[in-house]
């Protein structure tokens, strides 16, 4: 079984979803890259670089369909598309005993939290950054057809033939 996991020692590629990279949404709940400040973009770049370098990260990291191990109602879209989020900072509270998120971006509920988060989808040893929230509460509704994160997570699945993704 250990051989099965050898390829998962690092995330090999990080992609930017085009509707995030070139998008037109400029709200606190979803801010696309053209509307991010230089500081926010630099923070994103350093996070991506750290992931590709196999580094640990200090922020909280979790699936977007669970809370404390319990499935959050009406979050099927996030679960179907394996959408997670990472608390990217800046971190304003004092943290004495936070835990680091590992280089595979495994679940870590003891990381530092911040209003700012990155939404991303995991696929094998690849992640796709779907969006950025300056303030993630209330959390983007997984059942809302006007939620860009939900729609982005589905859009690339529907664009390819069913036989490819089963």
């Amino acid at each position: 079984m250990s051989g099965l996991f050898l390829y998962m020692t690092k995330i090999n590629d990080v992609y930017l979803h085009p509707r995030f990279e070139f998008g037109t949404t400029d709200k606190a709940s979803v801010t696309d890259m053209p509307f991010m400040t230089d500081d926010e973009k630099l923070r994103l770049a350093l996070w991506m670089n750290g992931i590709l370098d196999g580094e640990e990260h200090e922020g909280l990291n979790k699936p977007s369909w669970t809370n404390g191990g319990q499935v959050i109602p009406k979050t099927q879209a996030y679960q179907d598309n394996n959408v997670w989020h990472y608390h990217c900072g800046p971190y304003t509270s004092a943290y004495a005993n936070h835990r680091m998120t590992d280089s595979l971006l495994s679940e870590n509920n003891q990381g530092k939290s911040s209003p700012e988060i990155y939404h991303y989808a995991k696929q094998q040893d690849v992640i796709i950054v779907l969006g950025f929230s300056r303030s993630h509460l209330p959390f983007p509704d997984a059942t809302s057809k006007t939620n860009p994160i939900r729609n982005r997570s589905y859009s690339w699945r529907s664009a390819i033939p069913p036989t490819v993704h089963g």
Partner: protein
């Protein structure tokens, strides 16, 4: 198959030793079993989702930190830090 049966019949001690070995197979600890189960679920979750990545901007491990910063910010690193 016939030879195998004959061997066991001729040597009952060998037969019992073989059985004992089979029953002694180590069971995983509950913590290990839980970790394995979580890892399986993690792989399953990742494998279930497939995206068309061809039109997305890609960053990989061969890129330097400065290259990644420049690509995300649309500026050369020298420009960013001279501001």
């Amino acid at each position: 198959m016939a030879n195998f049966n004959l061997a066991i019949a001729a040597n009952p001690a060998r037969k019992s030793a073989t059985r004992r070995t089979e029953t002694v197979a180590a069971a995983p600890t509950s913590a290990q079993a839980r970790a394995d189960k979580e890892m399986h679920k993690e792989i399953g979750d990742r494998a279930r989702t497939t995206y068309d990545l061809s039109s997305m901007t890609r960053f990989n491990r061969s890129m330097t930190r400065d290259e990644i910063i420049a690509k995300v910010m649309g500026k050369k690193v020298e420009e960013i830090f001279s501001l």
